[in-house]
Amino acid sequence: MAAPLPKRIIKETERLQNEPVPGISALPHDDNARYFDVMVEGPGGSCYEGGVFNLELFLPDDYPMTAPKIRFLTRIYHPNIDRLGRICLDVLKNNWSPALQIRTILLSIQALLGAPNPEDPLNEAVAKQWKENQAEAIKTAREWTALYATAKK
């Protein structure tokens, strides 16, 4: 027996459905309303443009006291995202605030795609390449986007 869903989660889910953010979607699972299938489009003008990235998002029991758990399912070449899809993003860690929401987090992630930060790396190898040969790194990111993140449906 699942616990009744807090009002906050119900409202956030409703708003995600009723006022969708362009380029972002988040759908809760039928059997677990705390688990979301997320889709984020690569921002225009970035090396992830044209890519559609799948992520999974989970709202822990003590949400919104703690941040949602979120990771990339689609492979991505990015200095702040590791091979397991984990994301290095301040608002998911120390800078989380209960006033933030699913939608603001997803927007931050989309922004992170637009502005990779190799100075605060999670994926050392990618970050190294990014710092030493940015042109090559961007090229690889484009190739990976075309290879893994192009909608096949």
Binding site: K7, R8, D62, P98
Partner: protein, 496 residues
């Protein structure tokens, strides 16, 4: 024609007050005027066919586009003298391109006899214009002169052959009649807009006071009526919540953001009326004052809609008649309209200048009425009845109960949410990020907010208080370190 009849019928059949009708655009009369203009044009040899030929090179009136090179007729696209540049003494004129030395009209399609009569007219005009420029130069505002010179300069740069060509304007008496008939109407419509808006604003203000009296929850000495007014308060809230869900006259967002057309507003008001009826809100209100105020609110919306309808119809009539004028006479009706728009800024309030009258934006003064009165309603009437959403806790999204203010910003949280934050070791205020959470204690309870919520949202407050009591009991029973776990375990039993 169709529109004219439609317009007359709408004016006569709907329940517009008699005094408005006098301000309506005289569509029939204006149409007759256009006929007269055509007769006058024909009398100087400009029949329909000639005008059609003329129009081929007269039509790019709005821009200085060059079609040089086509059959050596480059000069035909000369910068046309803009009537908009001399708006104060607007007289519709026929523009003819002539050789500046001989005064010969340069349009090859004109019949010889037409050319002759035009030549006479043009020569006369050039002489007269020369005199006027000379004599009148003192009176004429400088900038207008400069503008004219600038136009000529640009024209000269564009094509060498222009040196020998210049535009001459022939005044047409009957066309002047047309505009003299049209312009005062706009003045009248503007006056009507101002008067009606002021009247409705006053009604909105009065209604606001009436609503305030009715919904003020607990007044000194009226405790006996508490139950009654509480119930009415909820009906009012529902009534306004429905209204704000889909405002009648103005929508902040969506594809039709901005002022809505009469048609849209009409159907929205009908919808709203239906919903109020189907919920039986009016009948449920206990006090006659409340019912009366609610009826006034509905009537007010009908009145706003009425003046909007009237103004929009007239705007459409004006656009139509000017289009007709343009099409049939080739004189610059558009410039006239443009000029009016600068004279009456209220015509332009929603920023959409489209000349097409039938588009999605309401025409003319209607949009400014819709916008102004919508704002008045929102602040002076709807704002009086507080909505519970404004008192939600930023953490759990339920009503912030008991309300705690951390002292760092104006946000109000539930005491439970703050306790949870403290247990999690969160230091910073969820909203403003200042380190105030851990210092919070009983003194941070916002009694003023609590008072307000108890008065305006008594049902919600009761419900939240029950939840709060239960949580407190659980915490007591749990004691020590296991408290957090136990609370989590018990939550499934909650019946909310």
């Amino acid at each position: 024609m169709k529109f004219g009849q439609e317009f007359q019928k709408a004016l006569a059949s709907t329940e517009f007050p008699e005094e408005w009708r006098g301000s309506a655009i005289d569509y029939k009369h204006l149409k007759k005027c256009i006929k007269k203009i055509n007769t006058e044009l024909e009398s100087i040899g400009l029949d329909g066919e000639t005008l059609h030929h003329l129009s081929e090179w007269m039509s790019p009136a709005d821009s200085i586009q060059t079609v040089a090179g086509q059959d050596g007729k480059g000069y035909y696209s000369a910068a046309t003298p803009s009537l908009a540049a001399v708006p104060e003494e607007f007289t519709p004129q026929l523009r003819i391109l002539v050789d500046s030395k001989t005064g010969t009209p340069l349009d090859a399609t004109l019949a010889p006899e037409t050319r002759e009569s035009l030549q006479k007219l043009a020569k006369h005009e050039m002489a007269a214009a020369g005199r006027r420029e000379h004599v009148g130069s003192v009176k004429r505002p400088l900038d207008r002169l400069r503008r004219r010179t600038a136009t000529e300069d640009t024209a000269r740069k564009q094509s060498v052959s222009l040196e020998d060509a210049r535009w001459v304007q022939v005044p047409l008496a009957s066309a002047k009649d047309f505009f003299e008939l049209l312009e005062p109407k706009l003045q009248e419509l503007e006056t009507l807009r101002e008067a009606e808006t002021a009247k409705l604003e006053e009604e909105i203000f009065d209604l606001g006071e009436a609503v305030e009296n009715v919904v003020e929850p607990v007044r000194e000495g009226f405790e006996a009526r508490r139950e009654v007014s509480y119930r009415d308060l909820y009906f009012w809230r529902e009534m306004f919540r429905l209204y704000m869900e889909k405002p009648i006259f103005y929508s902040e967002h969506g594809p039709n953001g901005g002022a809505l057309t009469f048609k849209e507003a009409h159907s929205r008001l009908e919808d709203y009326d239906m919903r109020i009826r189907s919920t039986g809100l009016l009948e449920k209100m206990r006090t006659p004052e409340a019912r009366q105020a609610a009826k006034r609110f509905l009537d007010l919306n009908v009145d706003i809609l009425k003046i909007m309808h009237f103004q929009e119809m007239n705007a459409r009539a004006m656009t139509k008649i000017l289009k007709k004028f343009d099409k049939q006479t080739r004189l610059e009706g558009r410039a006239f309209l443009r000029n009016l728009r600068t004279q009456y800024p209220a015509l332009l309030t929603n920023g959409r200048t489209g000349t097409g009258g039938g588009s999605t934006s309401p025409g003319g003064f209607a949009s400014s009425i819709a916008r102004d009165l919508n704002a008045e309603l929102a602040t002076k009437v709807l704002g009086i009845v507080p909505q519970v959403e404004d008192w939600n806790c930023p953490v759990c999204y339920a009503m912030a109960w008991r309300p705690v203010n951390l002292g760092c910003c104006t946000s109000v949280f539930c005491i439970n949410c703050i306790i949870k934050l403290q247990e999690e070791g969160v230091e910073r205020c969820p909203v403003c990020d200042k380190e105030t959470v851990l210092q919070a204690n009983g003194r941070n309870i916002d009694f003023e907010a609590m008072d307000f919520m108890e008065k305006y949202f008594p049902l919600e407050a009761k419900k939240r208080q029950k939840f709060h009591d239960r949580a407190a009991k659980m915490a007591e029973r749990g004691g020590g370190g296991g408290k957090h776990e136990e609370e989590k375990e018990k939550i499934p039993c909650r019946t909310m």
